[in-house]
Structure formats: structure tokens, C-alpha cells
Symmetry: C2
Subunit: 121 residues, 2 copies
Amino acid sequence: MEKPVELNHSECMGILRPIRDALDVLNGKWKLPIIVALSFGEKRFTEIAREVHGITDRVLSKELQDLTMNGLVKRTVEDTFPVKVTYALTPHSKSLDEVIEALRKWGVLHREIILKGSSDE
Amino acid sequence: MEKPVELNHSECMGILRPIRDALDVLNGKWKLPIIVALSFGEKRFTEIAREVHGITDRVLSKELQDLTMNGLVKRTVEDTFPVKVTYALTPHSKSLDEVIEALRKWGVLHREIILKGSSDE
DNA sequence: CGGTTCACTATCCAAAAGGATATAGCTATT
DNA sequence: AATAGCTATATCCTTTTGGATAGTGAACCG
């Protein structure tokens, strides 16, 4: 018995892997709101917590770690008074702009189409 | 004490809502693999199940419902032999191509940057 | 000294996503 | 009638994600 044909898969995976990577970076309830908050300038932990309303410290901490590990956010510790920590977007995060804009545009288009209830388009 | 400034939020939400919509449609482990499988032509339930390896019937059923509700997949019941049901991408799904391509390109770029370990970009 | 701010971390929980398995209705074959 | 293939749906369970709450340590405020 020849082994089952799953070969189209390897091919698909080559396409899908980077897409998954990208979605993983952006996904979750808070990544984008945090990025947007930081797009107005660098901020401290509690400032972000206040602006991204509804997020808890625990989750914010974790999300900032994720974003930092993915090179989208730079964490800076100033060893001043009570250890000031600031978060800012990195240059790399700029490269996300096209992606975000593509998502946003499609989201708007999609909503229109769904609301029209066109079941065949 | 004036009420806290959460006004930037309404503004942010206007931008974020469509992005969230778009991510919700694409997200999850299986949506893209299913779309890719269907991009080679219409397929029947079990064909998709075989091609998208690892997916269970239960999940495939649910995902196809989601995609159909979102107008990306058309479900056709042919009342022939043993009720042949086929799934195919809709014209609307074509509009996703740019989004997917943007995600894919960014995923590739991102991987390069992460692998380089550049911690400041 | 007690209280507050900052930047977290720890513990516990609830909800959602996803997987394993079984089964149903239908037809076609034997 | 028994069996098998197709298209699901139902139950149950595990994993992941995110939320609630509290606490840490250090500095500053009164």
C-alpha cells in the first residue's frame, strides 16, 4: 500500500505557515488595542492599562511580553526614581501598517456585504 | 475630578472594529487551510476532511458553517444519488486575497527579522 | 508610620476552542 | 436484511485564553 497522498499539504503548509505566524502575532483580544495605544507615542505600564480599557494587569503584562518578544514593542527601563518603564513601538512594527490597513479595509467591505445579506457573493 | 479621559477609545474602536471583524473571520486553526483546500476547486465534505489533515468532522462541520455564514463559502446540495453536498468559494472570498497576501508577506518578513534576533527593530 | 503609586507576579477560575468518539439518516451494494 | 459510504450532529473531555483578585517591593507623600 502506497502511503496516502498528503503531498498537496506540504505545499499548502509552505503558504500557510507565514500566514499563521502573522495571525498569531496579531491575534487575541488585546494586541491591536495595545498597538494602537502605543501608536500615539511611548507609554508607561499603567498608562497603557488606563487607555486600553478592560484589560487587567496580568493580561497586559503577558501581552506586552508577547509583543516585545515579537519585536513589535521596545521595553525600556530607566533607572531613575522608582524605575520608570516605558513601552514604545519599534520600527519593525511599522511594517504591520499595510497588514492592518488591508484587514481594516476588508473588514469594512465584509460588513457591508454581510449586512446586504447577499448569500451568493 | 473631571471624568477620566477615555475618549480616544471611541475613536480607536472605530478603527479596531473592522480589524477585529476581519481577524475573527480568518482566525482559528482551520479557516485558512479550508479556504486553501477549496481554492483548488469545489469539494465535498469528506474530500475536504481528507485534505485538511488532522481536522475532525465536528470541527470541519462547524468551520464550514462559519465560513458559509460569512459568505466565503457556498454550500450546494444536489438532490441526486445520496445527496451530494459540495462546498465552493464564493466571489466574495476573492476579496480576501489581498489580505491573505499581505499577511503572508508580513509573516515571511517577520520570520526573517525574528531569526536575525534584532532586538531593536 | 500608614497610605499610595508603579510595575509587575501569583493564584485561582470561567469561557472558548478544539479533539475523540459515537451515532443518526440516507442510499447503494451484496 | 446486513453492510458500507456520505454528511453530518451530539456528547464528552482537554487545552488554551482571558478575567478577578490579591500581593510584592521599593519609593514617595503626609
